[in-house]
């Protein structure tokens, strides 16, 4: 019980410079980190850091976007050994995209699946396919419970079967967008549901929310042979993805926002796939909706797809 003299309590220093001690400390740490990044790290680390600190696409100012696109172009060009273009083409005002697919014409040849893989830089190994072609019995009708995505016939169509390709339905009321905890996926003004791969945290909530199995997760590092990479890419579309993010059909926005048909329309040998502007009363897509028996998949879920299946014959 000695009465030792205790050290006097520290007296807060008056703030002369306008920063608290805590703020100064934090700033010092940041300065150290920044110095370490620029001094001791390789170019690859710098690129990785650029990816890590990349802002959300919609928070980028025009100048920041330009810089970011240049960063990515440099990164991909080095990675794939050829000049890769990364753009961020804005939606066309007054355009709402829609898609129609004629079930009576599709023969299940899967040309669309692999056309899409080539166009949109999907991973070859591990395999990612944005389009799934389902085979069903004509007698059973559209019964997804008895659908087979793994059919392998000598020739198609197989007798008594019909085929239903399914990819992202670009819902007007997309459940995937609702569940994303970080708003890394959203619906653009032209109706295309897009993903910011740099903002996706890989929680896969959207995959479980999507009733169409349209979203795919990169469990492994995607691999694309250098010579097969499509160098015309979009930030929100077909640029090479990284491991741990979700991807899906983007209606080839690198083509469609420049007025072209999506790749699957271009490669379909039977002309079963139709694409156009829902707001244009003269478009093919409007003709189909107005004159054919169209239906949407799982319409009872109120997702309001802009992808219409129909029977043309």
């Amino acid at each position: 019980m000695s009465a030792e003299p205790t050290a006097p309590l520290p007296v807060p220093q008056p703030q002369t410079e306008g920063y608290s001690r805590r703020e100064a400390l934090v700033m010092g740490l940041f300065a150290l980190a920044a110095a370490a990044t620029t001094a001791g790290c390789s170019a690859a680390d710098k690129l990785a850091l650029d990816d890590f600190v990349a802002k959300h696409f919609r928070d980028l100012t025009p100048d920041e976007l330009k810089d970011r696109l240049a960063q990515l172009e440099k990164k991909y060009s080095e990675q794939y050994g050829k000049s890769v273009k990364v753009s961020a083409t804005p939606p066309i005002p007054g355009v709402l995209f829609g898609y129609a697919l004629d079930l009576s014409r599709c023969i299940g040849c899967r040309r669309c699946v692999y056309g899409c893989v080539d166009e949109n830089n999907q991973s070859r190994d591990p395999q990612t396919h944005w389009i799934t072609v389902l085979e069903m019995d004509k007698e059973g009708g559209v019964n997804l419970q008895n659908a087979d995505a793994f059919y392998d016939h000598e020739t198609v169509p197989a007798p008594g079967k019909f085929y239903m390709p399914v990819a992202c339905q670009h819902c007007e009321n997309p459940p995937c967008v609702k569940v994303c905890p970080v708003e890394a996926t959203w619906k653009e003004p032209d109706g295309i549901v897009v993903i910011d791969y740099d903002w996706c945290i890989g929680c896969r909530s959207c995959i479980s929310a999507c009733p169409y199995g349209a979203r795919h997760f990169n469990w492994g590092t995607p691999s694309i042979p250098k010579e097969e990479l499509n160098p015309v890419t979009e930030y929100l579309g077909n640029r090479p993805r990284q491991r741990g993010v979700v991807e899906k059909c983007s209606w080839c926005l690198q083509l469609t926002r420049n007025g072209l048909y999506p790749k699957c329309v271009e490669v379909c040998p039977v002309g079963a796939r139709k694409f156009g502007n829902l707001l244009d009363p003269e478009s093919e897509i409007r003709y189909i909706i107005e004159n054919k028996r169209v239906f949407i998949l799982k319409e009872e879920l109120n997702t309001q797809p802009k992808f219409f299946y129909y029977y043309g014959l």
Binding site: F150, V156, K178, L301
Partner: protein, 225 residues
């Protein structure tokens, strides 16, 4: 930045979906689906409801003439979208069999022609499977002008216009083809596009679309490493 971290209750609860029993997902190739169309009656009901909804929800548009503009025809949007004029590019007719064209190299203008339907002992590679009980070569090919086709009323047309000939019987199909519903279009959804002739996909002599070899099936989940 904060704008992208707004949570709602449903967003927070959404990951709980992983806890749901997975048996249904396993039987559904669109795995992850929570409901599915169980039988055809429901499918039909759904389809008709979809049609009704689509029709009901559509803004009323002035019903304008859609046809009769010809394939080179213009589709101008009257509504919201300023739209470039749509032009269709004719494509070359599908290639003839080796050495078959021009037909006039063998068939002369003044040849005597037996116009009674009969089996010819030339062009054996052509097997007619197109209403063959009622029709034969000279119903479409012109007996005198062999490099041309003729319509039912005798008007001569080029092979590049063969769709007019096909449309004599297949009227609704021609209508849909002109509107862009039947047949393949490539190019631009908003501008210039290429179209294919009927004969590009359907051999006029046996028009049924020929089966194709499908591309490889996707890997099964368990095979992806």
């Amino acid at each position: 930045m904060t704008a992208h971290f707004r949570y709602t209750t449903s967003q927070l609860l959404a990951p709980l979906i992983f806890l749901a029993p997975s048996s249904r997902r396993d039987t559904d190739p669109l795995w992850g689906s929570m409901t599915r169309i169980r039988n055809i009656r429901l499918a039909v009901a759904g389809a008709s409801a979809a049609v009704l909804l689509t029709v009901a929800c559509r803004p009323v548009q002035e019903a304008g003439p859609r046809f009769g503009k010809g394939i080179e025809g213009v589709a101008k949007a009257k509504g919201v979208v300023p739209k470039p004029t749509v032009t269709l590019f004719p494509v070359a007719p599908p290639p003839f069999s080796e050495g078959a064209f021009p037909c006039s190299e063998c068939h002369g203008l003044t040849d005597k022609v037996n116009r009674v339907p009969h089996k010819v002992d030339f062009h054996e590679e052509i097997v007619l499977q197109h209403d063959e009980k009622n029709r034969w070569c000279l119903d479409c090919h012109d007996a005198q002008h062999r490099d041309k086709l003729h319509l039912a009323d005798g008007r001569l047309i080029d092979f590049t216009e063969s769709y007019r000939l096909c449309g004599q019987c297949h009227g609704p199909t021609l209508r849909n083809w002109k509107a862009g519903e039947h047949g393949k279009r490539t190019g631009s959804w908003s501008g210039a596009k290429q179209y294919l002739l009927c004969a590009s996909c359907h051999s006029p002599h046996s028009p049924h679309f020929k089966p194709l070899k499908p591309k490889a099936p996707p890997l099964r989940q368990e095979a992806i490493r």
